[in-house]
């Protein structure tokens, strides 16, 4: 097993392509985008099924990288999160096949 950094970014759906470009530009080998169902934050409640525009939908992006790549990604995500609704968390994980990350 090998140690890597897992980045979990919850961000509004309209910004996920920008976030994806950041991950790719900073050297992430890959990432996965998952739809979020509902949530609450900053006094506002939202749910996927209630807004036909989808403008308030949120997604989660998960990416596992080595610490140096993760730090470069986080530095760029900071700017993105200044503009868009979202949160990011980082955790240390153990992975099989380190060459994939």
């Amino acid at each position: 097993m090998n140690t890597k950094q897992r980045i979990e970014l919850i961000i509004e759906r309209m910004a996920y392509k920008r976030a994806g470009r950041i991950f790719e530009a900073e050297g992430a080998m890959g990432y996965t985008v998952l739809p979020a169902m509902a949530g609450f934050g900053n006094g506002n409640r939202w749910s996927r099924d209630t807004d036909i525009s989808g403008s308030r939908d949120m997604v989660m992006i998960i990416s596992i990288n080595d610490p140096e790549t993760a730090q470069k990604i986080l530095d760029q995500l900071r700017t993105l999160l200044d503009e868009h609704i979202g949160v990011v968390s980082v955790s240390t994980v153990e992975v099989l096949r380190p060459e994939r990350f």
Partner: protein, 295 residues
């Protein structure tokens, strides 16, 4: 109760296809004339101009800052395709005729308002207020969003197939139309109620009032424009409705890219929670009356 997301989007897709086809078929029977081009130019001008009026009203009367006022104003310069669809049914039931060109105008009036909102923010707060340099993505969202693509695509198809082709697809796109519209308006009513319940506390009284009077302001301006143009009562009703409606599908999505610091709870509560139900219940009858006065 919520209608499943995919089902609601399917209903919206069907309605846009159906209205686009209908408009295209009508257009195939009525040649493009100077009067029609004049309506198009007037509509695009309205879409550009209304956000500036709405912005001034919001800044003068409410506590909204520049970015939120501009984002909200953009919604009122754009159009609600569902309100337009409801208005076409009202026009038909009133016995008026419409030329079909107004469907094309609906597509044309979707996007100029977004440009106006960006100009408003840049003028007031400088270019930093507009997010990033992702102009390509914003341009794609603005010009190629699902509403515009389906509407324009169906319009072209309807124009090409004409009345003869329409007869063959009528059992799917014409006969069920009213029933599908009822279902979709049910879902939109539920969405509007939820949005209003969740969002109204974040709006001051002046902003709430704006959501109710701004459609009437736009309608009056559009009525004056119709009086100057050579349009029939059916087309005038639709033109006034387009001008008085507010977007809650395409523009909210574009605003998340263009003005991400604007709060969706403000502009969505206004356009979906207040203006949409007002237009569908009271607005369309008012606009039909105004159209009959000026034509």
């Amino acid at each position: 109760m919520t209608v499943p997301e995919a089902f609601a989007k399917g209903l919206a897709f069907y309605l846009m296809m159906a209205i686009g086809l209908k408009g295209g078929v009508e257009m195939s029977k009525n040649a493009l004339s100077f009067d029609v081009i004049a309506i198009f130019v007037a509509g695009i001008a309205m879409s550009f101009a209304i956000p500036f009026i709405a912005f001034r009203l919001l800044r003068a009367t409410s506590n909204l800052d520049t970015v939120n006022a501009a984002a909200a104003a953009a919604h009122y310069g754009s159009i609600s395709i569902v309100t337009f669809v409801a208005a076409t049914e009202a026009v038909r039931l009133s016995g008026f005729e419409s030329s079909g060109h107004l469907v094309a105008l609906a597509a044309l009036m979707e996007t100029p308002a977004i440009i106006s909102a960006l100009l408003l923010v840049q003028r007031q707060d400088g270019a930093q207020a507009v997010a990033g340099a992702e102009r390509g993505e914003l341009l794609r969202e603005v010009l190629l969003n699902a509403s515009v693509v389906v509407l324009v695509g169906a319009l072209i198809i309807g124009w090409v197939i004409g009345e003869e082709g329409n007869t063959k697809i009528a059992p799917f796109f014409v006969s069920p139309f009213q029933g599908v519209l009822c279902l979709f308006l049910l879902d939109m009513g539920l969405s509007a109620g939820r949005g209003l319940r969740q969002g109204w506390r974040q709006l001051d009284a002046a902003t709430i009032a704006f959501g109710l009077y701004m459609p009437l302001v736009s309608a009056l301006i559009a009525s004056v424009v119709c009086a100057l143009l050579n349009v029939g009562p059916g087309d005038a009703t639709l033109f006034i409705t387009l001008s008085a409606s507010a977007s809650y599908i395409a523009v909210p999505a574009a605003m998340r890219l263009a003005l991400p610091k604007a709060q969706p709870s403000v502009y969505l509560t206004l356009s979906l929670g207040l203006t949409f139900p007002f237009n569908v219940t009271l607005g369309i009858p008012i606009y039909t009356f105004l159209a009959s006065l000026v034509t």
